[in-house]
């Protein structure tokens, strides 16, 4: 019978995609969605969490904060969401999908230049005009919004050649030596310290980016989710974040 065959095929597909209903013998999986800039730190925190919780595995999903927020609002099976922008978290709260979002880290912006600083960049003031080719994030994304806020606070202006969709793209252009400077997060500069040089922005601390974490309302494992958040905000998680270059919230 055709309908029967279709049902069997659909079941097989679901099983392949890992969407089968959990059975008693299977390990419990905690789904954590986090902003791309948290990749290194959250990977280490997840390892700690799994060590403390035998039988539990953490599935990490890193992407741009906006995309993650949209997935959650669309009903994706996520237990914990960590964003790199309070505005993005607001869209999740407003949709009634966040349970008690709280800040857990901050990040500040910095200038990165190709190794050896060929264009001789010494600060934000050097990034205006067409002599220095600068890449920054598009104002639509969190790192771009932060950049805009910083520039507004300092009264400087930057003539960028490209407004990139995410901070990794900006960093990649600096690494490839296709631009003379880029504005990225300190944590990104720290992660690629062997490939780029950093030119700190003294005023950066005046406009830090807040990172927020929350349990998602439809989480199937609320207790585990809260445990994970506690680990992030506790001393162990905070130390890992400090090591990666994040500031205290």
């Amino acid at each position: 019978m055709t309908a029967g065959r279709v049902a069997v095929a659909a079941a097989a597909l679901l099983a392949l995609a890992g969407c089968g209903s959990p059975s008693g013998t299977e390990a419990v999986t905690l789904n954590v969605s986090a902003a791309s800039s948290l990749t290194e730190a959250f990977t280490r925190i997840a390892d700690e969490f799994e060590a403390d919780h035998p039988g539990i595995s953490v599935a990490l999903n890193f992407a741009g904060s906006s995309a993650l927020a949209e997935q959650v609002n669309a009903g994706a099976p996520v237990d914990v969401l960590a964003t790199a922008s309070s505005e993005t978290m607001t869209t999740v709260s407003d949709a009634g999908n966040a349970v008690d979002p709280r800040p857990f880290a901050t990040n500040v912006l910095t200038i990165v230049v190709p190794s050896g600083n060929p264009a001789g960049v010494s600060g934000l003031a050097d990034l205006s005009g067409s002599d220095v080719r600068t890449a920054i994030c598009a104002p639509e994304v969190p790192c771009g919004a932060a950049t805009a806020a910083l520039l507004a606070a300092t009264g400087e202006s930057v003539d960028a050649v490209t407004l990139d969709p995410d901070v990794k793209s900006v960093l990649a252009r600096v690494v490839a030596d296709e631009v003379d400077a880029g504005i990225v997060y300190v944590t990104d500069a720290r992660a690629t310290v062997d490939k780029v040089d950093e030119v700190p922005i003294p005023e950066a601390g005046t406009a830090p980016t807040d990172y927020l974490v929350t349990r998602v309302i439809d989480s199937g494992s609320p207790d585990l989710a809260d445990d994970f958040i506690a680990l992030v905000t506790g001393p162990t998680g905070q130390q890992v974040l400090r090591d990666a270059g994040f500031g205290p919230s």
Binding site: G64, S66, A67, E70, R133, A135, A138, E140, V141, A160, V161, T162, L163, D164, P165, S169, R173, A176, D177, E178, V179
Partner: protein, 267 residues
């Protein structure tokens, strides 16, 4: 049921997957149309930001098509007429941009024309010219990704065209250039048009290679697809509206051109 209808009826193993395929292609488009903010559409379409991106998309995609036509037709001729270019390696090279992820194409273009690239280094150090982050870079990225559509279409037409027409022209006293211009090109004209339209459509939709190689800056390198992607982060409905614009422009031009080169075939 009358006999003609019975004869035309397709067996289920053709009809069912065929209809599924149509639904598969049509559903995402219908979804897009359904979610489009039709109310604010006109305002959005005439906004400075959209007009700038649309103008840039149209000019760069047309320029890329022109580049593809000017370089691609001679390449197709070489591939069919010259022993050296007829080999499998040229064909593989031409096909490569079709299967390469566009982002990889962008990285490859940087490796060639970036200021640390093979040719780009010479341009940069010798003349101070930097190609990335310029509108020229957008055209290059689009041409790189889209030219294969034209080359492969024209090459196929040349292979199946009757070379004896060219011989007949030669016996009538036509020199090679005259033969090429008045016989070879007109005979494959419909295929050139078809190839150019495919190429243009691909150039218009180009995203990955453009973002990687040319960057994204309004009015200079941010074409419609890049504007859609940028908008996606702030306002989903705006991104959808932009996509719908891109879709409508493509459909309008495709339909318009299709009518034209169909009449060309009939003539």
């Amino acid at each position: 049921m009358n006999r003609a209808a019975a004869a035309a009826r397709q067996p289920w193993y053709i009809a069912v997957p065929g209809v599924v395929a149509v639904a598969f292609l049509a559903l995402p488009l219908l979804g897009l149309l359904g979610q489009a903010p039709w109310g604010g559409m006109w305002e959005l379409l005439t906004s400075e930001e959209v007009l700038v991106a649309l103008r840039l998309s149209l000019t760069t995609s047309l320029a890329a098509t022109a580049v593809a036509v000017l370089l691609g037709i001679p390449l197709a001729v070489l591939m069919t007429r010259s022993r050296a270019f007829g080999g499998g390696w040229v064909r593989a090279l031409v096909t490569l941009p079709l299967i390469l992820p566009p982002v990889v194409g962008g990285v490859a273009l940087l490796a060639a024309f970036g200021r640390r690239g093979l040719a780009g280094q010479v341009l940069f150090e010798g003349f101070g010219i930097q190609i990335p982050f310029t509108t020229v870079a957008v055209v290059i990225a689009e041409a790189f990704v889209a030219m294969p559509f034209l080359v492969i279409t024209v090459e196929g037409a040349l292979r199946s065209s009757d070379r004896r027409f060219e011989q007949a022209a030669a016996t009538l006293g036509a020199r090679r250039w005259t033969v090429f211009r008045r016989i070879t090109l007109p005979l494959i004209g419909p295929s050139i048009a078809a190839g150019a339209v495919l190429c243009w459509a691909r150039a218009l939709g180009e995203f990955g290679a453009t973002l990687t190689f040319a960057g994204s800056f309004p009015g200079i390198t941010r074409t419609m697809p890049l504007a859609v992607y940028a908008a996606l982060d702030v306002d989903r409905s705006q991104a959808i509206a932009l996509s719908v614009v891109l879709l409508l422009v493509s459909v309008l031009i495709l339909v318009g051109l299709r009518g034209r080169f169909l009449t060309g075939l009939r003539r």
